[in-house]
Symmetry: C2
Subunit: 300 residues, 2 copies
Amino acid sequence: MDTLIEKIIETGNPTVAGLDPKLDYLPESMIKQSFDKYGETFEGAANALFSFNKELIDALCDIVPAVKPQSAYYEMYGIEGLKCLKKTIEYAKSKGMYVILDAKRGDIGATSEAYAKAYLGKTDLGTERERAFEPDSMTVNPYLGTDGVKPFVDQCAANRKSIFVLVKTSNKSSGELQDLISGGKPIYEHMAGLVKEWGIDSIGTHGYSRVGAVVGATYPEQAEVLRGLMPHTYFLVPGYGAQGGRAEDVAKSFNGDGLGAIVNASRSIMCAYKKNGGGVGEAARAEAIRMRDDIVSAIK
Amino acid sequence: MDTLIEKIIETGNPTVAGLDPKLDYLPESMIKQSFDKYGETFEGAANALFSFNKELIDALCDIVPAVKPQSAYYEMYGIEGLKCLKKTIEYAKSKGMYVILDAKRGDIGATSEAYAKAYLGKTDLGTERERAFEPDSMTVNPYLGTDGVKPFVDQCAANRKSIFVLVKTSNKSSGELQDLISGGKPIYEHMAGLVKEWGIDSIGTHGYSRVGAVVGATYPEQAEVLRGLMPHTYFLVPGYGAQGGRAEDVAKSFNGDGLGAIVNASRSIMCAYKKNGGGVGEAARAEAIRMRDDIVSAIK
């Protein structure tokens, strides 16, 4: 987690820009240009999405420490979409950004090992070993318990990567399962205990483990409790902006050291140009600065 | 779910062959042939995997109603692996098999909608709409609750597809979360209640809804309880064979009508040739027949 934390300190910005593009979010001219060249095909769409991502990354890379591509939005465009995901990850890394792939994978042990190799480690190819996708970090779903998460933790350790495990998600119905009370405490606190345990061996220079937690901005009271329970766990905080989380809400996810959380916004940055005018990159940069200042002043 | 059930009745076989290939499972000659042509690359690996899958599908398609490719094993081989997944889905469908993609996706609503379009529905491409991947069914992770699952249910309804939601998984540590007791009953029973509710509007000709449940063969007592709680829910039952589930265990997941469950085996079929000799396809077919007879006699 140190690599991410150092980028956050360097930029003075504890936020991450979500890259969850779909055609609706793109300027019409950008779509037209690509469809004119490749037709109304997955290739045409994926090409336009990459242009959009590239403009966002170029505009944000010196002031935002990380990007979080959401795998679903690339899978939706098939093989071409996945090529765009791969290129987006590579491009963001080439610009010095930390890349958190939001893929929420999780399965039985042997299968989680395959996912972990796909995104955090290397795949065996006869006498060769290659990386299929190269994010620095990914999100993991813990429904299957320790043996479904451990392969990700192991690949993190072997490849200097990190993961963020779902604990309390930002959506409205997250409580149906996550808030059920068992043994006097909600499920998300049980998960917090496991996440803490999975990370205990890997606390780095800045005091945080390789195993982070996803904690939604839309549940500030729960975030405050979780912050107390998991002092050495970095939080990835979705739900700021379009989903309704405010700066004072996300502030609950930070520790007294001003660290401990990285706040995501996707639509509000990607689509800032629609609301405020200007080019995609220019508007995104202005919104990212506004968001940074909003959050930094709330955590002071 | 009727389409799957009719194939099960037609073949007299309530089983599904898992296609979770990795190079270790393939005959050396098959790997060598592909590496000689494409090098020790993702392309070389993916090409060998497709040859393997094709041999399995050809050998099984008239006696096994369905295949279940596990997405992780394709993602591990990058873009080339995903091309192999797409081709495998198409090939199995062309041979008349029902295809359940084991991808365990699940996210907040808008993102689940993107996943659901990727695998069950169509993606908007300007004035066109295309299918990115075309399985008949997929597995879904319910950690985020109703708004994370509903988009899959909606795409099922619009496209005559089905899903199987994780309820009680087959792995050793599944109980860490799934067995916690809340309000006098374990979490997996709470999930069963939700799954039942999500499917209630879509009960088909044979009495089963579009929303199935994943219930591991390794927990027969829990399966028996769940069977009673969810009479109209089809169960996808992993964990038979290599993971330790026996025919009398999986029998608990069936209803009195001889329907209600489809049992998966992956390694024991894919790697039957290693244990019993013969070619990949020939050995897989013999093992699939043995498994069918084992299970059919246990449920009688």
